[in-house]
């Protein structure tokens, strides 16, 4: 930022100022270098190759940290069983093979945690009348309950509740949406996480 008075100064003074600035820059550069400690020598097996135009720097990804499901948690239950949810056909409460597989694994998991109880929620799609769907949701919840009980889970550990069409998992309409809403969900009671 120059102003008229600076421009009118003698040249000598300007030269002195520039010299001082250069000296200061030099001092600054020196102090910066001192702070930058050299990296520890790399293992002999990985010789440091100075970057050149043809050899880009390779940066390994940061060390991986993965969360793990604590045994006995809801997340562990879902992971071990494959799902907390089984699905049904239209107006049906029959358990198909995938549902039986999931419920079988749920039962195995529950056998390992006898202090955990469950509530099974029965749900329907919205293409039915309200009260019929309450009864249908009850059927679905009980179909899942009966299967778990048959696999050895004490029936006293299982309660059921039907929500009919009141609590869809997915909003919208069409068969894809309805199929996701016709379900029974096993909710752990007394499990942490």
């Amino acid at each position: 930022m120059l102003n008229r008075s600076m421009l009118n100064r003698p040249k000598l003074k300007t030269t002195v100022q520039l010299t001082l600035v250069a000296a200061l820059i030099g001092v600054g550069a020196c102090s910066t270098k001192k702070k930058d400690l050299p990296p520890p020598p790399p293992p002999a097996s990985e010789p440091v190759v100075p970057p050149t135009a043809t050899t880009p720097t390779k940066v390994p990804p940061p060390a991986g940290v993965q969360s793990t499901n604590i045994p006995g948690s809801t997340a562990d239950f879902v992971a071990q069983a494959g799902s907390d949810t089984v699905y049904f056909g239209y107006d049906s409460y029959e358990l198909d093979d995938p549902s039986r597989t999931i419920l079988g694994k749920q039962a195995e998991w529950l056998a390992r945690y006898p202090n955990i109880t469950v509530t099974i929620e029965g749900h329907t799609d919205d293409r039915g009348t309200r009260e019929y769907n309450l009864a249908l949701g009850d059927r679905r919840a009980n179909a899942a309950k009966n299967f778990l009980a048959a696999q050895g889970v004490d029936a006293s550990r299982i309660t059921t509740i039907s929500y009919g069409k009141e609590r869809p998992a997915v909003d919208g309409s069409g068969e894809d949406v309805w199929a996701k809403n016709r379900r029974a969900v096993t909710i752990l009671v007394g499990a942490k996480g």
Partner: protein, 449 residues
């Protein structure tokens, strides 16, 4: 609003008015042949003998509002065409109420005329007097006075509309009634539902619950003072009772303490001394009856499957319900003790939510088929099926107490928005009700006393 409106018949002329009109001159709305030509009726602002303040505004203001409510009631039936007051060439002063200028009303092509007056009583209550005339013959058809609190002026207006409707159709009216329903808001996956109560025309709307608990399927007791409904309070889906006068809500419990599992689909039996409902036990749903005094529970159905949505006949001798015992959802009728169960629906598709008509000869239902949910009616033996609506999802009919109009709720495809609608028994005059939020599960009250 204080219930128990006082009715005061105006001298003996009321009786004379009902019998003095010769048959040939009877002005009459034929409600059975559809609504091709609604009857033009003039409802000028009600006069007042002396302008006076009331707790609900001046008598002059009330006179205009009463006339507007009556006109809206009659117009909503689809049977009457209230004339636009802006076209009126004459005003009705207090002296004209009983001596109308029939010539002026004939010029407007009014076939019926309703005049009236609003006055303040010494105790602060108001009297609304109504006079109905046949404009062509200059005959008086009916007159009646209604006394109520100033705040209750709407009820007097509805009573007046019921008087005209009744005199001109030969049927009991239905305008002095209320609707209890479920008000809905929020995304469908986390829908909030509240019980709400309003007059039949949407006025005096109020919420009865705060939305904390999921509530469904309210129904009036025959005396209009109690509402039964289903609530998920404490994650225990059970039938509850709501006493309107006190606002007290209590779970319906049997003598044994509590029901073992979900109870739902509650309906009062005629007389109000007992209720029918459904209970699901281990995936099997049956119809039960509970005596409200002893809380003794009787099981009425035992077929494996879903037996629900019971609805008693008006005389209490029979109950219509839905069952999937035959494979799909169909309608059945049984005696009130559970004996004589017989299937009555045999058409294509599924049938649910049967409701016995207050007249006793018809059953309304939801029919599912062809990608639609429609409201229909049939005779109590299942014959004479007629579908009244056609839509993506119409559900849950409820009868006006005179059995001429059915209210239901309609769910829009895609958005899932819900609203209350009415349709005439003829299938005509479909109308959407205005509600503050989305609305479902309507139940019509009895005609208020």
């Amino acid at each position: 609003m204080k219930l128990g409106i006082q009715m005061r018949k105006f001298v003996a002329a009321a009786l004379l008015a009902f019998i003095a009109v010769p048959a040939a001159a009877v002005l009459r709305v034929d409600i059975n042949s559809g609504i091709a030509a609604p009857m033009p009726i003039a409802v000028p602002a009600f006069a007042t003998p002396a302008p006076a303040p009331t707790a609900a505004g001046s008598t002059g203001d009330l006179g205009r509002q009463v006339a507007a409510v009556i006109a809206a009631d009659l117009g909503s039936s689809g049977l009457f065409k209230p004339l636009d007051p802006a076209a009126f060439t004459t005003t009705v002063g207090y002296g004209d109420v009983t001596k109308p200028n029939f010539g002026a009303w004939r010029t407007l092509a009014a076939q019926a005329l309703l005049t009236g007056a609003v006055s303040v009583n010494p105790d602060g209550n108001i009297t609304v007097a109504c006079y109905a005339y046949d404009v062509f013959t200059s005959e008086e058809l009916a007159r009646q006075g209604f006394v109520t609190t100033a705040a209750g002026w709407r009820r007097a207006a509805h009573k007046c509309a019921d008087l005209v409707y009744s005199r001109l159709t030969g049927e009991t009216g239905y305008f002095d009634t209320r609707i209890v329903y479920v008000s809905e808001t929020g995304p469908r996956t986390k829908r909030i539902k509240l019980l709400a109560l309003m007059d039949q025309d949407g006025a005096n709307h109020r919420f009865l619950t705060n939305g904390q608990n999921l509530v469904l399927t309210p129904r009036f007791a025959p005396d209009d003072q109690t509402i039964t409904y289903m609530s998920y309070a404490d994650n225990r889906p059970r039938i509850w009772l709501y006493t309107l006068g006190s606002g007290v809500q209590t779970a319906l419990r049997p003598a044994s303490g509590d029901f073992p599992s979900m109870t739902f689909a509650p309906r009062f039996m005629p007389g109000g001394g007992s209720m029918v409902f459904s209970m699901s036990v281990g995936g099997n749903t049956d119809v039960y009856r509970i005596d409200l005094a002893s809380r003794k529970v009787t099981r009425l159905t035992s077929a494996p499957g879903i037996d629900t949505a019971p609805s008693p006949s008006p005389d209490g001798s029979r109950i219509v319900f839905e069952s999937d015992r035959g494979g799909t959802q169909q309608l059945y009728v049984m005696n009130a003790d559970g004996s004589g169960q017989q299937r009555i629906s045999f058409g294509e598709g599924r049938y649910g939510t049967p409701v016995w008509s207050p007249r006793g000869d018809t059953i309304a239902f939801t029919k599912i088929g062809g990608g639609q949910f429609r409201i229909g009616i049939m005779k109590t033996d299942g014959s004479g099926e007629r579908l009244l609506t056609s839509s993506w999802q119409d559900e849950g009919p409820t009868w006006a107490p005179n059995g001429r109009v059915i209210m239901f709720f309609r769910t829009a495809q895609g958005s899932g928005a819900t609203a209350l609608w009415t349709v005439d028994l003829s299938g005509q005059n479909e109308r959407k009700l205005k509600t503050p939020l989305d609305a479902s599960d309507p139940a019509w009250s009895p005609l208020l006393p």
